[in-house]
Amino acid sequence: MELAYYPGCSLKASSEIYDVQCQRVLSAIGINLHELEDWNCCGATSASKTDDFLAIAMPARNLGIADASEYPELVIPCSACYSRMLVVQKMLESDRGLLDEINGELSSKVIGKTKILSILEAIQPVVKSGDLAGRVTRKLEGLKPACYYGCMQTRFPYGVPVPDDVENPQGMETILETLGAAPLDWSYKTDCCGASAAVNENDLSLMLMSKIMKDALARQANCFVTTCPMCQLNMDAYQEKVRATYGIAQSMPVYFITELIGVAVGLPPKDLGVDRHFVDAMELLRELNLYE
């Protein structure tokens, strides 16, 4: 399967390991990614808090580039980028005047023909066809993940078709069960980690993260699994502070879904950057004999 690919700014900076994982792991399971030509920042949530038109114009340029590419589908692993691009595509579809105005400034015009996929939607066909199960060389036995979706995989600021259950999504669980893990049922899978509040309202964010962590631990999870680079970075980088502030004894590695697929299909964890987490993420793999 050939897909256009929008990495976004995070995946070229603090979450570069996610970029590497997406490309290597997806290619190992038969999905080849083709990075969009000269993409720009989607504006994330900051643009919508600053200027309505900017928040539409920034994703629109990327949509135009995607529409001009030879690939009918575009995968966007970062939840914030995914949400912005999906929302703006839908907004422009219903506002011809705005579409024309923006297209007047763009060399690659927005047509609206590209289908935007989250990382979970991109992987789903490989799970359904049985291809993923066939490629597993190391079953993730003993792994009890709390699948953490955060906000932007299922909740959108505008009416777009949601690809999974809004309150109880199952996209990650389906993949992890195929890999032999035993994902848990828990209550905080779509709760907010605070996102940028970790930087600008730290106490608030620590409070939100402590609730997520406490519930996951109470259900006896031994790790988190995420698709969003912001959730991953927050739960990972601030975990020590959350634990110290809220008296949580146990720590938990925070994996990207891609690195667990990678490990299961036999890719070396270090090549995927599993050793570059804040909370040690290699130890659990070693304990479970998923890596020696």
């Binding site: 700014c9 390991i17 993409w39 920042c41 038109f53 920034m58 763009l106 906000c151 709760d191 940028s196």
Partner: protein, 212 residues
Amino acid sequence: MTTVLEFIPDQACSLAGEVMARSGQNLNACYQCRRCASGCPVGEETGYVTPDRLIRMIVLGKREAALDNPLVWKCVSCFTCGTRCPNDIMTARIVDTLKKMAKEAHVPPLSPKVAAFHDSFVAAAKRLGRLNELEFMGRYELKNTLAGLAKLKFSEVIEEHKSQAGLGLTMLRKGRMHFRIQKVKGRKEFKRLIKRVGERARGLSRSPASQE
């Protein structure tokens, strides 16, 4: 604390009309069921201002209260309120609109760091077309430092730098900090788009939100 909100039609129409047009949300549809309030993750931090009460303030025309309250600044844009609203009112988008209106009305933000964060993000992203975390965080910390120094809050400034430096060093050690500059090649086109944003903001064209 009991807060009594009085209905003054003239005030109410102008504020509610403006917020509805800019946010694209139909506030009149709110029947105060408070499903938004029960799901709001920051509810314990926002005092008596819950999403439903914010809507009520706007409908009653309480401009000052609507532009200057903790929910506007503590909202984490998780969109739980709007996803659960039986009438599809996305309060998180109303909050975004209020942030912009507060800035235009020169109401000082209750959380200056939140305002500095989004302003710095957008400034950095607009300059090179892609966000460079170091530039963005540099702009953000500079804004905070200047604001802190202006208010003579030296210990706060020192604490902020200590905590950010700690995180920065860990990121460096883990190979999660990057110094390679990312930018778009189609700078001319991107700048043209940004110029249009500026013209729009100066009122040279209609507001897109009103069209949603």
